[in-house]
Symmetry: none
Subunit: 430 residues, 2 copies
Amino acid sequence: MQILLIALDGLGDRPVSRGKTPLQLAKKPNMDRLAKGGISGISYPIGPGIVPGSDTGYLSLFGYDPYHFYVGRGILEALGSGAKVHEGDIAFRANFSTVDGKMNIIDRRAGRIDGKDADELAKSISKIIVKDRRGKDITFQFEHVHGHRCVLLIRGQDLSPMVSDTDMHVVGQVAWAKAINPSDDAKRTADALNEWLKKANAILKSHSTNKRRKERGLPEANFIITRGASMLTKGVPYKGASYSGIYGEAVSITPFKEKYKMDATCVASGFLYKGVARYIGMDVMSIDRKVGALHADLDEKVKAALSELKKGTDFVFLHFKGTDVAGHDGDWKAKVKFIEKADKAIAPFLKLKDTIIVVTSDHSTPCALKAHSADPVPILIHGPAGMIRPDHIAKFDEVSASHGGLDTLRHADVMPILLGLLGKAKMFGT
Amino acid sequence: MQILLIALDGLGDRPVSRGKTPLQLAKKPNMDRLAKGGISGISYPIGPGIVPGSDTGYLSLFGYDPYHFYVGRGILEALGSGAKVHEGDIAFRANFSTVDGKMNIIDRRAGRIDGKDADELAKSISKIIVKDRRGKDITFQFEHVHGHRCVLLIRGQDLSPMVSDTDMHVVGQVAWAKAINPSDDAKRTADALNEWLKKANAILKSHSTNKRRKERGLPEANFIITRGASMLTKGVPYKGASYSGIYGEAVSITPFKEKYKMDATCVASGFLYKGVARYIGMDVMSIDRKVGALHADLDEKVKAALSELKKGTDFVFLHFKGTDVAGHDGDWKAKVKFIEKADKAIAPFLKLKDTIIVVTSDHSTPCALKAHSADPVPILIHGPAGMIRPDHIAKFDEVSASHGGLDTLRHADVMPILLGLLGKAKMFGT
């Protein structure tokens, strides 16, 4: 028996037209068939009134309480990028931005730079060594993620994640990094980061790509702004037995394979999802990042998931991103369309035997809010005849699912329920 | 107002035929009438992904968190057998087994010995005193439970439950008991147990019943194997104010009558169920053990429960075993049949006034698994008009109940809900 967990990122929504949610409006015969043969419910990713991030939503779904195991998005994106993250490394989320001659930030996203321009510029500052006050080397690794988004990983002796954001989420004078606790480590880390920001600025502003951008009337990506410093402590890169928490609080993670006695593979394109998967010890397939876009062809991912299942992998996590993108864009028609595309794409899975199929999400991204919300998400669990108790629900959407046989649950319940169905749950008593 | 709680052991199941569970397939007009007039739900006995034992399932149902109060099956079966269990006593589950001349176990169940043979042999070793290394007496009490199953209770000074199982669940060379911690108490207890095992073997192998068995070509029940040592500490026999936990961890139990301000009587035939009831301070009716069998007449139990209710007992726990037996046998037709028989048997209860009737179970025993599972169990609560809010559910089964007004709950919620209906729940605030 294998498990295929299909997550449509940011799937949950609120009524957008004629009193219906995008899921209710979409034609999705395959998901409805799975709902009809399976058991449905509505799940709070973390709990009522908690707005999940994608990272905390998936951690919760895979049975890792985010209040214990959340390590910060910087580290997760760094892991997702494929960077080797070591104990004591500090990671930041970073943006390409535009400063004027007086070091005023005039565009926090450098005109939403992307593609070749971003890749070229990122390459020019991909590895810079800065000496700290004591003369020790600090290595700054920089990687383009997507759009204006990047990840910065720094490595050295006695670093501290207690440094302030240089991205203040508003335009205006550059906010240089400061220590946010009185330790010398924090002071030294902030100073080194500021020195790197200046070095990067010097390289970027004279880069030919930026000159070309200027000629084309595009904002130059001549400055980096950083946020969300997080540190991996007691960490073993990728698949080791113990990772650790934010701000130096050590946390020991039992890897997925050990915790559930199942092989697991993540089929996703975004760095964050891959990062969460690596963080909890799943294998990660190499999938082109561009497959994550709203208008992308989903068949490549579906094929990848099918091949993983064919190989006998116990647990395959298949991630579709478009629903979340449409939600953030506030474009419900695009969301409906993406759901319909995803529904067509998953058709081959309906022929699988000996496979439990789960369809759910990490959080709601209502189009009306253009942001994540605390609204619970629908979930369905479909399995071979005789394993699941099919309920009376024949449609997959937020409202139908809330009347289903699983009633209301939390993502923390999902893995235990699946283990129970598989016969892998532990007996307590006799 | 009185409460009658009817538990069909191992009732929950998965679809077995035409996509339906045994409960869905069974004709059970009385249970359906109770569901129609009552409120239904689906309940996790302990929690999602936890496979309950019968002992932990019922503890949970009666509001005793098994993670705090589970004392081990040995002690519970000993209590159920009627043995007086004292503080510091150690109990084991035990099997009649068969050894060859070289002390190889060749049959872990002595040909599933039962009845008169088992009773006679058990009597021959019912009370043996062994001297420990320090010259102190250790009393070994042995009692036949049912089939090849027995319970061994030992009493002495400074005993320890930290001794290994001598039942390794496989045939082969006898695995003598060993201390599983370095204490002298554990060593002394293991040594004394081994001495008793040899004494019992000497008595059993020359017993006339075994000679007769040999002549009839049946395996001799000439050896005892033990497992699951558990200790009652700080215990007061049966109904006292404080019992205690496994492995000497002291736990203080508030007896049912004190906790809920209700008299309570258990009507069950199996030692384990009686033992759980005694452990939490319920009264236990004397019911012939044979009434527990799959093909037994259930009317005797129903009459007993009715007479208890007539006497004015506040809470009556009525236990039917057959559903679990059929589940373990993997015989769904027998399960359907037993449900139908139980349904007929409970007809007299439908005439009761001023009585809340609960129908539920301790865990699922799906026929396809022939074992307990983590699947939740249906529950219905029926009461006098005006007390319960009847929902839209008119059938009693796993799927219908999951759509009921109680939605999904846990067994830990059941007693608080019943107290609330009775008006015995405490007000918090003003």
